[in-house]
């Protein structure tokens, strides 16, 4: 799991990030550098600002202040074209499963006759073969989340954000999603994933970012984080969490 394709990975640097609402600091990060080649797992209690951080990185919300750099240049729309995001609650179009994938393939400039085979390939990868014509809205939670990930992967992102994709799923569905994510990581897709599942963070993560109250409580390589956490917050978080 830890042998990621040796590829050039963009270094992402966040500085002076702030979001305030009603006098409350929702996000407050002075400096954060994300550069590992393997998956980065973001942990933290509810309301820690994990989803907000992903949204800011992906350019979906404009922070009150803060600069995002990728390889030294300020991150812009062109960089975001090579990013994709899977939301905490998957948003599927009110169309068939295949049409959800076709929607992005068409935008990717896939020729009409190449789309069919590509859709079949993606569905097979996600274990959704045979579901192509089913209305996407009638998929089960786990299937819907897999489709959302497949659709994100269909955009061929360099960087994939995942916001708790398995929080509502049973162990088997969770395993299916972890397999999808791990395969994408091995192909060289940079993964930044929020999770509440410490076992999942151990299984998938190369680096760990622990957030609390809008701030970064600890950032460390995964093995170090789990065996020898430095911060008080991390020790408390780990002892309170379910470790598998």
């Amino acid at each position: 799991m830890r042998d990621f394709a040796e590829q050039l990975h963009p270094e992402i640097e966040v500085s002076g990030l702030r979001i305030e609402r009603d006098g409350k600091r929702l996000l407050d990060i002075d400096r954060l550098v994300l550069n590992g080649p393997g998956p980065l797992m973001i942990l933290g209690p509810n309301g820690a600002g994990k989803s907000l951080l992903l949204r800011c990185l992906h350019g979906l919300i404009q922070p009150d202040r803060g600069v995002f750099r990728q390889d030294g240049r300020e991150m812009g729309p062109a960089d975001r074209q090579h990013q994709a995001m899977v939301f905490q609650r998957p948003v599927l179009l009110r169309r068939s499963v295949a049409a959800n994938l076709n929607f992005v393939l068409r935008r990717q400039g896939f020729d009409r006759h190449l789309r069919g085979p590509r859709v079949a390939e993606l569905l097979a990868e996600g274990g959704l073969d045979g579901k192509a014509r089913q209305p996407a809205r009638s998929l089960s939670g786990g299937e819907a989340q897999r489709l959302a990930i497949l659709r994100a992967l269909a955009t061929e992102p360099e960087l994939l954000f995942l916001d708790e994709p398995t929080s509502a799923l049973d162990p088997q569905a969770t395993q299916a999603i972890e397999a999808l994510v791990a395969a994408a990581a091995r192909r060289g897709v940079r993964i930044i994933m929020v999770t509440h599942d410490i076992g999942q963070a151990r299984r998938l993560g190369q680096d760990i970012l622990l957030m609390q109250g809008g701030k970064v409580a600890e950032q460390a390589e995964a093995t170090a984080f789990f065996t020898n956490p430095e911060s008080q917050a991390a020790r408390r978080f780990l002892s309170g969490g379910l470790v598998i």
Partner: protein, 237 residues
Amino acid sequence: MQNFAEELRHAMVLILSGDRDLWEIVLLSLRVSVIAVLIAALLGMPLGAALAVGRFPGRRGVIILVNALMGLPPVVVGLLVYLCLSRSGPLGVLQLLYTPSAMIIAQVVLVTPIITALTRQTVETLNAEYAEQLRSLGVSRLASVPTLLWDGRLSLLTALLAGFGRAIAEVGAVIMVGGNINHVTRVMTTTIALETSKGNLALALALGVILIALAVSMTACVSLLIQRSDVEGLHHA
């Protein structure tokens, strides 16, 4: 009562025998209202979508105006269209008064606000759910309009049927600008009103039965659509 039963029997004979005058009136009604709804949809859907996703000054004002126009009394619409189309009005040269075109115009004015308001509501609700996902997939706010309209297709169809229901059942505006000229501008509602006052109850009743049948099948269509969309999970998350 004897008399009423007799008139009703007469009415059924008119319907079932395919009476030419009767069906000419029904077909003209359908033609006028279908065309009016199509034009209103071409105007109202893009406008409604623009109001839903656009951010421009005066947007709130336009939304309030459209909602107010929905409740416009038909006779007022009739009066305004009459003034525009009358010989000395701004569109007088077209000589449209007392033609089916004039009736279509009046119905377009009545139906466009309904379709605009319902489209805005549908697209706005859908956009609240889709916006971040579409931005993430690289679809800009403007470019997302066709997607939002397509994915709201069931609600929009319901809006069209609602518009059609209002158009086909309307009397006041249509009679002011179309009159009730035999073989030219006689539609169901205006004929019912006039034939009743003349005491020709059979024709009025026959048209009434057809109008009710249309209304019932419309409602049935709408509920079938909604039911089907529930089955396919199109309406709910």
